[in-house]
Amino acid sequence: MSSPLTLAPAPPSQAAEEVRTQVREFLAEELAAGTFTTHVDTWLSGVDPEFSRKLGRRGWLGMTWPKQYGGHERSAMERYAVTEELLAAGAPVAAHWIADRQSGPNLLRYGTEEQRQEILPRIAAGECYFVIGMSEPDSGSDLASIRTRAARNGDGDWVVNGAKVWTSNAHFSHYGIVLVRTSPADPANRHAGLSQLLVDLSLPGITINPIRILDGGHHFNEVVFEDVVVPGDMLLGEEGAGWHQVTAELAFERSGPERFLSTYPLLAEFARRACDTGDAAQLGALGRLSARLLALRQLSLRIAAALDRGELPDIPAALVKDVGTTFEADVVDEIRRVVEVTPSLDSPDPLGRALAEAQLHAPGYTLRGGTNEILRGIVARGLGLR
């Protein structure tokens, strides 16, 4: 099959396997020392700035960036191994996750020299955190319909008004990359007139209101902008090129192993149970789920290899996220079919707790970062159908 959906197999990477071993040893030490406990979906909910700084000190943030900006000039394959190990351990990586994954690469591509020098080393140190400013109360999947606007004032600064929602971790983050309308909507070209602004979240006029998810956890926020004055040089990239830039950013947002490993700690707990019981149905379920996971790893590795080749595989990324998030939600259902276990956050059984965490976070997997319906539309475009 030759289409925009297929990527070449990833070549083996010795360097990736070496760093994988280092991360695994580090995580075993941290777990033994009790500095963190394993949870499901920790790239959304596991906030621990000290842990993020530790990763920064070890050189595991900003891994692929140039050294002059605090990066380590390592391959996407090596970064893949690091992120995968952190997710499999259910480590608290939420504080830095978005900055390291997509905001940093976005700044590297579109930021000014000053922005890169000032911000990127702090991200790589695990000290500077970012939010994604895309969705709005009236604009979810239809991102081009956003209404948050930015207009130049007499000083050449941007005055921002509007609101963003589902803004993960805005209550402790430092910056947002905010998609705004900088010229009036053109019905003939809905993607025109959008721009990205780099916004310091401590600016006057910004209000951050918590939005709690199903388990009561506070990760999401509403971020309201009322006459927020953003310095003129905080335009990211080109005025009016926001849609194109967002598309590039989404390739990073959608392609990583967090799109199929959010519930991995539940699978690991289930494996302990299946090992104890030796139950054939449980072992079979473990095999079926593992086969799906192994295929997703290969897809995600292919994307990492494509990033190393300098490609921006947005269509394969959409495909992996669709297949991956479907899988991570299915983990819950497959397990409960073969184990008698009651899901509860208060369960004395670690499997019951993991199941409860995974279940209560499950609706988000196939929504965040682009719904699976939107992703399948992108895949359909890759198939030449639209």
């Binding site: 197999p9 090992c275 079979g284 394969p316 297949v323 359909a380 639209r386």
Partner: protein, 357 residues
């Protein structure tokens, strides 16, 4: 596939296109003419070493031949010969029969093997019992039989049996491919005792063979379905313009792409000489699971015409429904995988997963 295999693929495609497609009928058990042309071109020995009588070439070349024939629904035992039986015989130190004569593999737990001294030196075995569900029974001239070892001995015996004159039952799989039984009456045959680990490898290679065929057929079914959705118009526009249909095709593409990625990785692991039992198990399970989605949605998108014998779709969907259960079903291999991943204990799942491929 990599560009190195393009020439092989092109050659097989040329030969396929010179033959009437979809040759299997109630009266025709295989495509003897296709086989003859493939053998003539040396393609029935690809990937098997020249010193053993094969045509030489890489594993990737053999996989390319098998994939092309699977996607083209070629009714010949090339997959069994190049990827399963041939390599199994060579790994066991047995002679390879003439690649121009079809060879298959029978995993036959109900057949017992006893050593025999028939004056033809050591390594002679007497096989007794009935091998069931044998791929290309009645077509293959030679059968590599994986039989139960004598009582009290672990592992299995792999023996090369001349199928000429063996009693055969005429059973077919869902696609009409021969899957009959062979009655082994105790004639001496060259064979070798395999350890349980080597036995597991033979089975795993057979499973990976079917996974490779499944991957290729799944890709072709997706391609046919996308093409059909672009050509068939309803309500004044192509089916592919309807979002509901796009969702189905995208789901199919996700499944197909996942299967290909994992199967390719398992083949590469085999090529590196890694232990591939778990990789093969995973590839077979993943490919089998994809059949459910891809075959169902392919028929859904094709509508009633795809449900007719006249249309070509069933030549591959019936193979998909058969191959997923052959060489060990998802039930068998998912348990092998589950048990194998926990071999070092319940805390070792992640390291085990990252070792598979």
């Amino acid at each position: 596939m990599a560009s190195d295999q393009d020439l092989v693929v092109e050659t097989v495609r040329d030969i396929l296109s010179a033959h009437e497609p979809f040759a299997l009928t109630a009266d025709t058990a295989w495509d003897a003419g296709l086989w003859a042309d493939l053998a003539e071109a040396g393609l029935t020995g690809v990937g098997l070493p020249e010193e053993a009588g094969g045509s030489g070439g890489e594993l990737a070349d053999a996989v390319a031949v098998v994939r092309t024939l699977a996607a083209g629904a070629g009714a010949v035992p090339v997959a069994e010969q190049l990827l399963a039986a041939g390599p199994a015989l060579l790994a066991a130190g047995l002679d390879l029969p003439d690649p121009a004569e079809p060879l298959t593999l029978a995993v036959a737990g109900a057949v017992t093997a006893e050593p025999v001294d028939d004056g033809d030196g050591p390594g002679r075995w007497q096989l007794t019992g009935t091998a069931t569900d044998v791929a290309w029974a009645g077509v293959a001239r030679h059968v590599a039989v994986l039989a139960a070892a004598p009582e009290g001995i672990e592992g299995a015996v792999l023996a090369l049996v001349d199928a000429e004159g063996l009693a055969t039952s005429d059973a077919r799989n869902l696609a009409g491919e021969p899957r009959g039984s062979l009655v082994l009456g105790g004639a001496p045959a060259a064979g070798a005792l395999l350890t349980p680990a080597r036995t597991g490898e033979v089975r795993a290679r057979f499973a990976l063979t079917r996974a490779v065929q499944l991957a290729a057929a799944l890709e072709r079914v997706l391609a046919w379905t996308v093409q059909y959705a672009g050509e068939r118009h309803q309500f004044g526009r192509p089916l592919g313009r309807f979002q509901a249909v796009q969702m189905e095709l995208a789901e199919m593409a996700g499944e197909v792409t996942a299967v290909t990625a994992l199967t390719d990785a398992a083949v590469q692991a085999l090529d590196r000489g890694d232990d591939v039992v778990l990789a093969a198990a995973a590839a077979k399970v993943r490919a089998g699971a994809a059949v459910e989605v891809v075959a169902r949605l392919a028929h859904q998108v094709h509508g009633a015409i795809g449900f007719t014998h006249e249309h070509k779709l069933h030549h591959l969907t019936r193979r998909l429904w058969s191959w997923r259960d052959e060489a060990g079903s998802e039930l068998t291999w998912s348990q092998v995988l589950g048990v194998g991943l926990l071999a070092r204990g319940g805390d070792d799942l992640w390291p085990a997963l990252t070792r598979v491929v």
